[in-house]
Amino acid sequence: QVQLVVPMAVVFGPGSVPRDLPRPLPFRDVQEMEISVNLRTSVTSRYEMRYRSTTGQEEAALAAATAREADAALHPLQDTTLGSLTMYVVPETSPLLPQGINVYVGRHRSALVRAGGSLAALQARLREVTQVMSFTASAIAAALSDRVPDSQLSPDARRDLKSSLGYEITFSLLNPDPKSHTVDWDIEGAVNRYVKPVLDKLSLVANFSVDSQILYYAVLGVTPRYDKESSSFLLSAHSLPHVINPVEARLGSSAASLYPVLNFLLYVPERSHSPLYIQDKDGAPVSTNAFHSPRWGGIMVYNVEAPASPQASLPLHVDVDMARVMEVFLAQLRLLFGLSREEVPPHFLLESPGNEGLADWELDHLLWAHTVENIATVSTTLTSLAQLLDKIGNIVIKDDVASEVYRAVASVQSAVTKLSLGHLHAAFQASKEAVTSSERAFFDPSLLHLLYFPDDQKFAIYIPLFLPMAVPILLSLVKIVRESRLRRKEPTKMD
C-alpha cells in the first residue's frame, strides 16, 4: 500500500516552548493517518516531525520586523527538498504576526505559527497547517477519483486537470469587429515577462508549450442584454456555458500535439456591444470580467473605452494592457490546476506568490496529487492488461511491449518506495516514467483483441474442411481393426 511521508521540522523560537513538552528538545515524533478511498484502497499519510529549538541564525531572522521579511531571511536556512515543511513557532504574543492571525504561510515551504499556550493547542494548529500546506484527504481521494464510488465524491472532485506529461497553452485574441477596433497585443512580451516565470516553476510537473493566435469575426454564441441602468451590456451567468461552443470550432485546437490543450481567450466586444460585463449569479458584475471552464480554459472580456469624440475615425487603435490580462489568465491557470486558496481557515495569512504564480508548497500539492494519481493509473492499466491477456490466451506479446511492462512495474515500485522515504521529487519522476511505459505497453497497436482468434472460431473454420476428409479414413480404420481381429481369431487357417 502507498505511504506518503512528509518530513517536517518544528522549530521553537525563543520564548515559545510550551511547558508541557513530553521530552526535552530535540526529539522526533511520528503521526500517521489513514485515508481510505474505498474498501480495498487506502493511503496512509505519515508526518515525521522533528522538534528542535532555533539556531542563532534563525533567531536573528525571526527578530525581523514583519513576517514577510522573516520568511525571506529564513528561506536560505531551510530544508528545501520538495515535500518537506518547516514550521517556526513564535511566542503567543509575538508582534511578528498581525493581530488575529495565528499562522503565516510563506512563499516557500515554511510557516510561522503562534505557540498557542499548550502543546495540545499547538499540535492542533500544526495539524491545520499541514492540511493547508501539504495534502488533504479529499485531495488524495480526488486524485484517486476513478476508484471512489460516484456517490461519495463531492461534485468538485473531478474538475482539476488530469496528470499529464505535458500541456499546451493557447492564447487567442478574438476580435469580432475589426472595422471598429484594431487590437494590438504584445503577447510575446507578455509571455516572456509574466507567463514564463510561472511555467518555469511548473516545469517540474510537466512540459508546457505556448502558442497564440488572433481570430477575426469570431462572435460569442450569445447575444448580450442591454441594461439601461448601467448603460452597458450584460452576459448573465446561465448563458455563459453556451458561449464557448461556437468559438471552439474555430480555435483549431492543436493538430500537432497529443497533450491536453488549455485555451485562454481574450474577447474584445464589438463597438455596438460595448461595454460588456459578465454578471454573476447575484446579478453583480464580475470584477475580473472573466470566467473559466474546468479542463478547458478561460475567457476574459476586455472592454475598450468609448472614444472621446463621437467623430473619432474608425478603426480605433487598441493597445491591450497585457499585465491586467495576464493577472486574470494566470489566476485561471491556477484554478484549472486545482490550486485554490478558498478553504483556508480565517486565522491564517497566506503570502501572495507574486510573479512566480504559485508558492513552493502549492507546487508540492500538485506533485503529491499527481504522483498518487500516476501510481493509481499505472496499477489500473497493468491490471487491466493482465486481465486482457487472461481472456485471450493466444495473444502474442512482442518483446518491446514486455520490456515496457517490466519497466513500468519497476518504476512504480520505485515510486512507492521513494514516497515512503519522503523523497517526493524522485517519486514523482519515477511515477511519470511508470505512466509513460504502461501507456505505451497498453496502447500498443499489436494488442488489438480482434487480431487473435479464440479457439472456438478456429474449430469452426477447420472442422468443415477436415470432417469430410476424415470420414473415409475413419471407416478404413474401422475396417482394418475388424480384419486384424478376424485374423487373430483364426490363426490356423493357413494352408
Binding site: 451567468a237 464580475v286 476574459m300
Partner: protein, 363 residues
Amino acid sequence: FQDQAEQFFRSGHTNNWAVLVCTSRFWFNYRHVANTLSVYRSVKRLGIPDSHIVLMLADDMACNPRNPKPATVFSHKNMELNVYGDDVEVDYRSYEVTVENFLRVLTGRIPPSTPRSKRLLSDDRSNILIYMTGHGGNGFLKFQDSEEITNVELADAFEQMWQKRRYNELLFIIDTCQGASMYERFYSPNIMALASSQVGEDSLSHQPDLGIGVHLMDRYTFYVLEFLEEIHPASQTNMNDLFQVCPKSLCVSTPGHRTDLFQRDPGSVLITDFFGSVRKVEITTEALALDRHVAGVESKFPEEELATEPLKYAEQLPVAQIIHQKPKQKDWHPPGGFILGLWALIIMVFFKTYGIKHMKHVF
C-alpha cells in the same frame, strides 16, 4: 439558477465526443449515409466541434456517377435538406471504414502515425455518443460487404474502454435490422443503448425519392431527427422522451433500449448530455497580483538556430538496407502434433489398405 447549476454538476462530464459510423457502401445504401450525416449535422448544431467527432463514412454518395444531384446528399424527399453541405469533415472514408479501424478508434490502440483528427482522445470525464447504421443481423453488423463485427467484439471493446476509463458515460444508438441484438452483450457500466428494432424484426426505410431513385432515410433515424430538431443547446428534454420516439405505428419495428448498466435514472439524463456540448463554467472571482515592473526573461528561441539545419527528405523506407539484407534465417521447428498425427494416419491407412508390399517401392 441554483437548480441549473446542480444539474450541470450532476452529470459529471466535462467534454463530449461522438463516433458516427456508416457501415455500408454502394449507391443503393444511400439511406445509411444520409442517416449518419443527419446525426452528424444535429450533433454539430448542438455544439460538438469537428475536432471531437470521429465520422466514418464510405463517402461514395455525393460524387457517385449515379447521383443526379452531384455533391449533395439529401435526407428529406423533394430535396429539402442537403445534409452533405460544405463543411463535412469525414475522418475515415471509403475503404478505411473497417472493423479493425473502428475497434482501434474505440480502444485507442492506434499506430503512432495516426493524425489527431482520426483519434478518439476521450478521458474519464467524456460522454461519448456512438451511432452505427447499416445492415445487420442477429448478433452482428456488416461492414462494407466484406466483414462483420459481432456483438461480443463490440462489448469487449467497450470493456477495454472502461478499463482505461476512456469514457464517463456512453450512449450507443444503432439503426439496423435486428439492432437490439448488438447491445445484448454489453457488460461494462455506464452504457445506455438504443436500437431501432428487436431481434427478429427488420428496420424499414422511410421514403423513396423519385428524382434520386433510392430511399433517402431509415424510419427510426428520421423520427429521431425530427425529435432532435426541436432540441436546442439549453433545452431540458431528457432521455425518456427519446425512448418514446418512433412507436410501432410509425416505425413498423419496435425500437428497444437498455438502461440497466446506466447508473443515473434516464429521466435525469438530458439529451444535450450526449448530443450537445454544454460546458460547465465558473466565474473567475480573483486575479493574481503581478509585479508589473519586471524585466522579461530572455526569449529562449535564438533566431540563428532555425537556419543552420539543412532540410532533407525524411527516409521513409531504408531501401539500401532492405536490398542488401540477407534473408532471415528462420528457425526450423519440427511439425506440430496435429500435422504429424494426420500424416501418420494417412500413411498407415494407405499401406494397410493396399498392402505392405508397396513399401519397398517407396524405399
